[in-house]
């Protein structure tokens, strides 16, 4: 027994050596400020440069001012729309469609992806078709959607699903293909079968490419959604697309640019959510360094 405890003690000693000293996790307010500033200033600078160029074009009278307004006209207009107009309601309608459509695309894309990935004849049959679907420009689906469903929300949801689902399915297929064979062998000898094999091994292994597929699917969904909102006329539901259409009819460029800024900001915000998800997966699996110092943190955010 003494040999056993000696061996245990030696192993513990080695373990402690291997793992090294634990870095203190607390940070001072100054350090946090430094980190935030380090992540922020390149973005602030980039926005400032864009605004300056825009203002410059405006001042050069390149186009009449009502056709190409400057930042000084657009931002007050955007502010008044946010505080007075229907914009929040429109954002709500548009985002609800995006979320519902994307959720349906998620379910459909995942199911189709799983079947294609794991059933060889199905893969041969429709594997390349899925990639083909991705290459169809989203507006091409509009006549199809309107004839099939009519001018209503269903047609718009269809646009979101048909544009997003192929990317989601493809992400999952890629993920399943990248399950390490060694882990599959290990899983099989451990007795993982059927449902447990998917739950504990194949799905977690597929998660990173799957999330990449979600991210791409979201970008496509955003395209499909606005193609739908601009071209499918749904009565009594003032979405962002509807506002955009009516601004176009009134040749209200200030309103158009305001809405485009809203669309850009919403798109970036959702994309950032996917990035946070991605980073947390990478960190949990040891694929990304934990933000242990200001420097690595800055590096990590600067890359994306």
């Amino acid at each position: 027994m003494s040999a056993d405890t000696e061996e245990a003690a030696a192993l513990t000693g080695l373990d402690n050596l291997e793992n090294g000293p634990v870095a203190p996790s607390g940070r001072s307010a100054g350090e946090i400020g430094g980190i935030v500033w380090g992540a922020l200033w390149p973005k602030v600078l980039a926005v400032a440069i864009v605004l300056a160029l825009w203002e410059l074009v405006y001042l050069l009278n390149f186009k009449p001012h009502d056709i190409l307004p400057g930042p000084a006209q657009v931002f007050p207009d955007l502010w008044s729309q946010l505080t007075h107009g229907q914009l929040w309601k429109a954002i709500g309608i548009t985002l609800r469609r995006a979320v519902v459509g994307f959720a349906l695309a998620l379910v459909i894309g995942t199911l189709v992806g799983l079947v294609v990935a794991r059933v060889p004849p199905v893969r041969v049959a429709i594997g390349s078709l899925i990639t083909g679907l991705q290459t169809i420009p989203s507006v091409v689906w509009i006549p199809f959607a309107i004839i099939l469903f009519g001018n209503n929300t269903t047609a718009i949801l269809f646009m979101v699903i048909i544009t997003a689902a192929p990317s989601i399915a493809n992400g999952l297929i890629a993920g399943v293909d990248f399950t390490p064979p060694l882990l599959l062998r290990a899983g099989k000898t451990m007795g993982l079968r059927r449902f447990a094999l998917y739950r504990d091994l194949i799905m977690p292994a597929a998660l990173p490419p799957f999330v990449a597929g979600l991210k791409q699917g979201w970008a496509f969904a955003w395209h499909g959604l606005f193609a739908g909102e601009l071209l499918v006329i749904v009565a009594n539901s003032p979405s962002i697309g509807t506002l955009l259409s009516s601004d176009q009819d009134q040749s209200d460029m200030t309103g158009v640019i305001s809405l485009m800024i809203v669309i850009l900001v919403l798109g970036i915000a959702v994309d950032m959510m996917f990035n946070v998800l991605n980073e947390s997966i990478r960190r949990r699996r040891g694929l990304a360094p934990a933000p242990s110092s200001a420097r690595s943190f800055r590096f990590g955010t600067a890359v994306r």
Partner: protein
């Protein structure tokens, strides 16, 4: 060289101490394994027969290309022999690889819990079993660490705990300590030997390190290369606990190594 060693070496290829073949934990009979087809066929194993008695620790050694890992895959049921039979008599078989092959999305505890879940062990019982298993490999304090937070030796201990969680009667190990530094490896030899002696399962252990084989095995089976055949079956009767650097171990290893070298030299010309 002591006379007893000489006797052991010159004696008959020892009959497995487990008794009649039917009671062997692993019975490999005339197994041939070929890969590929037609002209490009490779014979990995050629009429290999080998038996491992219950509770016996058998080490397989051989140069590269002797089909050691192929043989383990066959015993694990991951692959089927071209001809011949592999019988384990319905015993549970667990397999450990050179890489820990832990699931990176699970903590150490969840990795060890996995075979328990797959075998339908009740949740309430699982927690205690996982704690005990991690303690048996001296990793009680690392239950919530993920694989990437552990050193190579610690990961391999988690993998050992996970293999033990399968309640196997036969533990197959494919160069499990090959990637570790010498000091860690020596400690893991002690750890493995201790658990094996307490629990009494059979071990079929593949290695290319002759000394490691002599340090651990009741028997050391030497395989030839291309095709793999059983060349020699050495009985190691050095008293346990053994040291990997002890005179007896080193001496016995030298004898076996000579034969291994002869086998390698056969492939020079």
């Amino acid at each position: 060289m002591s006379t007893t060693d000489q006797d052991a070496r010159d004696g008959q290829a020892p009959a497995p101490p487990g008794g009649p073949a039917g009671s062997a934990a692993v019975q490999i009979t005339d197994v041939t394994k070929e890969f590929g087809r037609g002209k490009s066929v490779t014979v990995a194993l050629d009429r290999v027969s080998l038996s491992v008695a219950p509770g016996e620790f058998v080490c397989l050694i051989g140069a590269s290309g002797c089909g050691k890992s192929t043989l383990l895959s066959l015993v694990a049921g991951l692959d089927a022999p071209t001809s011949g039979t592999v019988a384990t008599g319905g015993r549970r078989v667990a397999l450990m690889f050179q890489e820990p092959a832990l699931f990176p999305w699970f903590t150490a505890a969840q990795n060890v819990e996995l075979p328990l879940r797959a075998n339908g062990v009740a949740r309430s019982e699982r927690r205690q079993r996982v704690t005990d298993l991690l303690q048996s490999v001296h990793l009680g304090g690392f239950a919530d660490k993920r694989p990437h937070e552990l050193s190579g030796g610690m990961r391999q201990r988690v993998a050992l705990a996970r293999a033990l969680a399968q309640d196997a009667d036969v533990l197959l190990m494919d160069e499990p300590f090959g990637a570790l530094d010498a000091m860690t490896r020596d400690l893991l030899h002690e750890l493995l030997e201790g658990i094996w002696r307490r629990q009494g399962f059979s071990v079929l252990f593949v290695t290319h390190e002759v000394r490691e084989a002599v340090r651990l095995g009741d028997r050391v089976v030497l395989l030839s290369s291309r095709p793999g055949r059983v060349l020699e079956d050495f009985s190691i009767d050095i008293e346990r606990p053994r040291g990997i650097d002890s005179g007896e171990t080193v001496e016995r290893a030298m004898q076996i190594k000579e034969q291994l070298n002869e086998e390698v030299m056969r492939h020079v010309g």
